[in-house]
Symmetry: C2
Subunit: 398 residues, 2 copies
């Protein structure tokens, strides 16, 4: 069998990530590879750190992309901050909270789970109570924007509770960063990770992270070695640090970093706050259209993410059939439910470059016509008009 | 300060990696991103596994690229195969053997070091003796091609010794795969990792790995959890396995995998054995030229890698000044020495797409003229003629 070059079908990506990647970012990705210790590359790395600090809204010196997907960013936070025997309070309100618990165990720590509800925000009262009952815990871990459900938690409030209990925070911002406010310094978050492929609209494979000075103090005070050489902050810092000679640690994913740099330049050009407004505005337009089709979002309004919309599958509809039709006929990808929500929801992402009016109309039109063909009746014209009415109001409408 | 798009200077990469990336691979990298669970992507992943098996010369079912650099491939091997308390015999004849020892420690194992000589192959007699003295050790770890020195070890002989002592092997082929023979099945290697950015001539950021059934038996028999969630083979297999429904593990670096696929298609087009011959042939041409300039390779001929040439810095020459001149004037990158060899050698890579006649002439010409200007006299014309004479002989010359 001869294997030929791979030419992917051009898709529109409206699942939970990856999101559509802008042509400027793809062009950056394909620029000629240079060495990972090349002075020109090292200067680009410094710019990348500056751009990431602006995106995370932090002055943290240690702010950089991990050379691996968001899952590795998560693991870097847990393996460095958690020592064997440490108690860690972990909020679980979806798949990624569950993964945090797994990470605590792999690091040798003892997870104390605050069990929440799928599709809902983390409950601050439950967290307050758990921290009160476990005074030895020094870390609170939670997911800011649960990718498996589309629920947003109040990171500012949770971080304030943690501080009162003398705890550091480990925060997952994989789906929030670049799509809705993330204020690392103003909210006092300590170890924060994200992914390149969602609201940053870069290709998948990198995990931006940032660590507060408090977090680094805990890392420096460790009495045991970090259980990963690749993710050991003490070593990674030697390569990414601006203060001293760059020490070779691993070969950086040079081209992927070009792409992240370009996506962050584009984010800065648009303006971070303007980007948040755009995501919110397009979410409202999509929601208006979905509701006109008789579809419901599962997350209560106050806890909804703009960038990820979880829609209940109507009775009698096979969700996988609809997704397959959208993909085959319109090259449109949307997401399925995970875990407890498998089969029950679709996840529609409006992330980064995917968050634009053309995608909203495509998605609503495809849902309307394919659901109609499957026996669920909705008014396509009304859905498009409802979305259009919101788009007409502009970004600053309430 | 406004940060603009990054445009890297076009370099010729003749260091220890990354190597020059072929335009076809860069073009593949920039193809539109699709979802990591898209049926078209999953089909491409299956092709990628087939291509990697051909490259590693193995039938191992579990053969795939790790979504992170070669260092993470190393870590995947050690964290999965080594359990706390396990004795592991580790051969150290350069930087990467030392890193293996670190990996054993991070996994909770007890490294037993076979200390070799920098710039020399691993000594099979020393290994035999160490395994005899440590009958509890069940793993032998060694670097096939030491990137820090350019020395090649006899992987076949070392694996046979390991087998006699009932040990599995963990083998680093980061610099050998695609450049010189690697025969995973014929030599009976068990856990083997490599990197995308050297002789495979892909962009940096991926780590091809392959595991024998014996290795997987040891992983399945673990009594403790793997210390990394991201690199836990039991979980990663669920996403890469062809037999069952793909389970989401992490978001694959989609575009990077396009690039690896294309680089392996190109390798298959050329033919793996032909590629090995090309690397050998161009090494001989470069060597002839370097020797005509009065420069010496530090590795004894029988232990030399074709793809990575370590050259002694002549007395009175500041090696860093020469490297800076090559980079600034000719956009030519070569490598410095690491560890014990820092300041004493240059490392000249002829890897993958970098292994071509034009690069040999550029490198020899640049060395000749810049060394002359620094007071080291060599005959540039003789060097070029010597290289050309080898090139004239063709790939199959002895």
């Amino acid at each position: 069998m001869t294997i030929h070059s791979f030419n992917p079908p051009p898709r529109t990506l409206m699942g939970p990530g990856p999101a559509d990647v802008h042509p400027r970012v793809l062009a950056a990705l394909a620029r000629p590879t240079i060495g990972h210790l090349d002075p020109a590359f090292v200067a680009m790395m410094d710019e990348l750190k500056t751009l990431l600090r602006a995106t995370f809204r932090t002055q943290n010196a240690l702010t950089m992309p991990v050379s691996a997907p968001g899952s590795a960013g998560m693991e870097m936070c847990f393996l460095n901050l958690v020592e064997p025997g440490d108690e860690v309070v972990v909020c679980v309100n979806g798949v990624f909270g569950g993964r945090m618990r797994e990470n605590v165990e792999r690091a040798g720590g003892k997870p104390i789970v605050v069990q929440g509800t799928w599709g809902r925000a983390v409950d601050p009262d439950q967290v307050e109570s758990a921290l009160g009952q476990h005074p030895r815990a020094r870390i609170l871990a939670f997911v800011h924007a649960e990718t498996s459900t589309g629920a947003s938690s109040d990171a500012k409030a949770l971080a304030a509770i943690a501080r009162r209990h003398d705890c550091l925070t480990i925060v997952d911002t994989v789906t929030s960063l670049g799509g809705s406010p993330v204020e690392v310094d103003a909210w006092g978050l300590d170890a924060v990770y994200s992914g390149s492929q969602k609201c940053l609209s870069c290709t998948p494979g990198l995990a931006p992270v940032t660590f507060s000075e408090r977090a680094l103090e805990k890392v420096r005070a460790r009495t045991t070695k970090v259980r990963s050489w690749f993710l050991d902050l003490n070593l990674v810092m030697g390569y990414w640090s601006g203060e001293q000679k760059r020490t070779y640690h691993h070969t950086a994913p040079v081209n992927a970093l070009y792409a992240l740099h370009e996506s962050l330049v584009m984010l800065a050009e648009e303006g971070l706050e303007q980007t948040w407004k755009r995501h919110r505005h397009h979410h409202l337009a999509l929601r208006a259209g979905l509701e006109a089709l008789g579809l419901e979002l599962i997350v209560p309004e106050a806890e909804r993410l703009a960038q990820l919309n979880s829609v209940s599958v109507p009775t009698g509809i096979d969700e996988a059939v609809l997704r397959a039709r959208l993909l085959q006929r319109y090259n449109l990808e949307i997401g399925a439910g995970l875990g407890d929500l498998a089969g029950k929801i679709w996840r529609i992402g409006l992330m980064g470059y995917s968050s634009r009016p053309a995608n909203i109309l495509l998605c609503l039109g495809a849902f309307a016509t394919e659901l109609e063909a499957m026996g669920h009746h909705g008014d396509a014209g009304a859905a498009l008009a409802a979305a259009r009415a919101v788009l007409d109001q502009g970004f600053d409408a309430p």
